[in-house]
Symmetry: C2
Subunit: 346 residues, 2 copies
């Protein structure tokens, strides 16, 4: 008899009670229990988080048998592949084996190949056998099963591009999809850290959404990067500036936008203390979208107050509806971006 | 001949060049230079930031003459009252002495008594004389002048309430004003940390804006707090929960909202690791507004992604248009809140 589980998987927490599965020490990985709002997958491979895999390799002196034993030990102990030292997980690739009754209207069917977009640190996992450890790419091929809760996010792996290419883009899928939803025709948009992986995808999306009457300015560190971005269609113009020097960046950014402040800035710059560079160039009533994980909440909040800027500041959520589809579409649409990703990011 | 200065006061930075006045070591406090977009005030008193004043008192062994010498030294050295150890400032109260040509349409006139709502750590200040040091309330009465830049925020001190009462509310003015702008009729709103100063003001504003068809639930730590908040009109109902235990809080919060997820949550809880408690109870497409300075950017961003929540997460900006007026109006409108503030916060 199938039961309905909790949307976030709380029903699978064994200890301690009262936390979500990520914070739990041990979760229930019994794959014979079927819930009406869970998906069970046959796992093909685990892409272990880089911090976690490095720690495991070091602890096991790179001996494959020891690594195998350690991974099996963690999963049997915790019910999930969460490194007890780093706390981190990774993601899995697998095929759909079971879809609970309540999730029948999802856009996947049994047999589809998917990538999980939630962390292994919160995902029930049972390993029958480790088949191969790919030492250099943090990947482990296994035979086993994993559970996706009702709230879990995943992406169907497309037939028309390589798995590696799709995963490279899905890794940062939140940012371009949020940009796509924010930018309106005619908007002026400033992209900080525009030359990186998420910056390129955000810029491309911003150019498309702002359209012919809009203006997308890329802030980069080198002139050659800016030229490449124009070539890629990931900006309409660029400035060469250092986002840790807000006054200089402000002056260049405003000049590049015809003397006007921006409607939206998007910060993809993975360096500390770049909050003011994202806030200063934006008009009152505009939007500052922080995607960079180097963002400090207090520096952003107090920084905007200090200069009396009435801007809406958004915490970049790694998820938004249809984020995988929006991002993969960029690779389909733009041969140039696809080529760049194939060359640089896989 | 008057000149126009930079909107953010960059024209007064002496060293190092390229930063804003807050990050500068020394700024120009020459009050004989008149700019068309500056306001100059005759300062009555400095409310020194608590961290700064504590450090100064300790360094000077609480000897008034030494404190006087130290404050005069800092201001003559830096051109602003920014404690070199703590980096913090405070705010000032004064009367308007000069309004530059470009700012003539502002809602203040020469002679008005105002409170600066930007930090002394970025405000040009010149002290002629220290008149009195109020050791226990971190306040220093002076004779001197201060500059407000075009971007600076300030509030005219009202005639109909005490200075202390107005300042106690203005201290957290960003939060209730943002709440007022976010909450729409019929919304369900969850306030975390609802029993504190900003929580009370946000709750009162939410009840008013959500109206008779809305629902404002306060999350508090003690039953008596909840009863007080209902009495104040700062919630429609309450739950007693610990925001560091998200699963328990989620269950109680959903039950209190008739089994439904919330449109908006507002986090005013000044404790670490309460991000999930603010994110979990909100519906997809809803808003999570973080006002607490204990918020971690990465915990919020990764937390929402981990549970696949498509929510808009906002960094609480300490400033929004008319924030002082919106907040002071609460004290005028509600005798109960005014009484509470007079008893508890001044």
């Amino acid at each position: 008899m199938e039961k309905q589980g909790n949307k976030y998987g709380i029903h699978r927490v064994i200890k301690p009670q009262g936390v979500l599965t990520q914070a739990a020490q041990k979760i229930d990985n019994d794959m014979t229990k079927l819930y009406t709002n869970e998906i069970i997958c046959d796992v093909i491979s685990l892409n272990i988080d880089s911090a976690s895999f490095t720690q495991i390799k070091e602890a096991c002196e790179k001996v494959p048998e020891k690594i195998e034993e350690m991974i099996l030990g963690i999963v049997s102990e915790r019910g999930k592949m969460q490194n007890p030292v780093t706390g981190s997980g990774g993601m899995f690739i697998g095929t759909v084996a079971y879809i609970g009754e309540d999730l029948k209207d999802r856009d996947i069917k049994v047999g589809d190949k998917i990538a999980s977009l939630v962390s292994l640190s919160l995902t029930p996992l049972k390993i029958e056998k480790i088949k191969k450890i790919h030492m250099d790419i943090d990947k482990v091929d296994i035979e086993g099963k994993a559970v996706l809760f009702e709230s879990a996010i995943y992406a169907k792996l497309p037939d028309d591009m390589s798995e590696a290419l799709a995963l490279a883009a899905l890794d940062v899928a939140g940012a371009p999809a949020q940009t796509a939803k924010l930018v309106k025709p005619g908007d002026s948009v400033l992209i900080l850290g525009a030359g990186g992986k998420s910056g390129i995808l955000c810029g491309y999306e911003a150019v498309k959404r702002a359209g012919p009457t809009g203006n997308v300015i890329a802030s980069v560190r080198r002139d050659t990067q800016g030229k490449e971005l124009i070539e890629l269609g990931a900006c309409t113009d660029y400035i060469v500036a250092d986002a840790t020097k807000p006054v200089d960046l402000l002056e260049k950014a405003i000049e590049a936008n015809g003397g006007r402040e921006y409607d939206i800035s998007v910060s993809c710059v993975n360096v500390e203390a770049c909050e003011m560079a994202a806030i200063l160039p934006v008009r009152d009533g505009g939007i500052v979208y922080f995607f960079s994980m180097a963002t400090s909440f207090t520096r952003a909040a107090l920084g905007a107050e200090g200069i009396g800027k009435d801007v809406t500041m958004l915490v970049g959520n790694g998820y938004t509806k249809d984020h995988a589809e929006i991002t993969l579409w960029e690779l389909r649409e733009s041969e140039k971006i696809r080529d760049l990703f194939n060359t640089k990011y896989i």
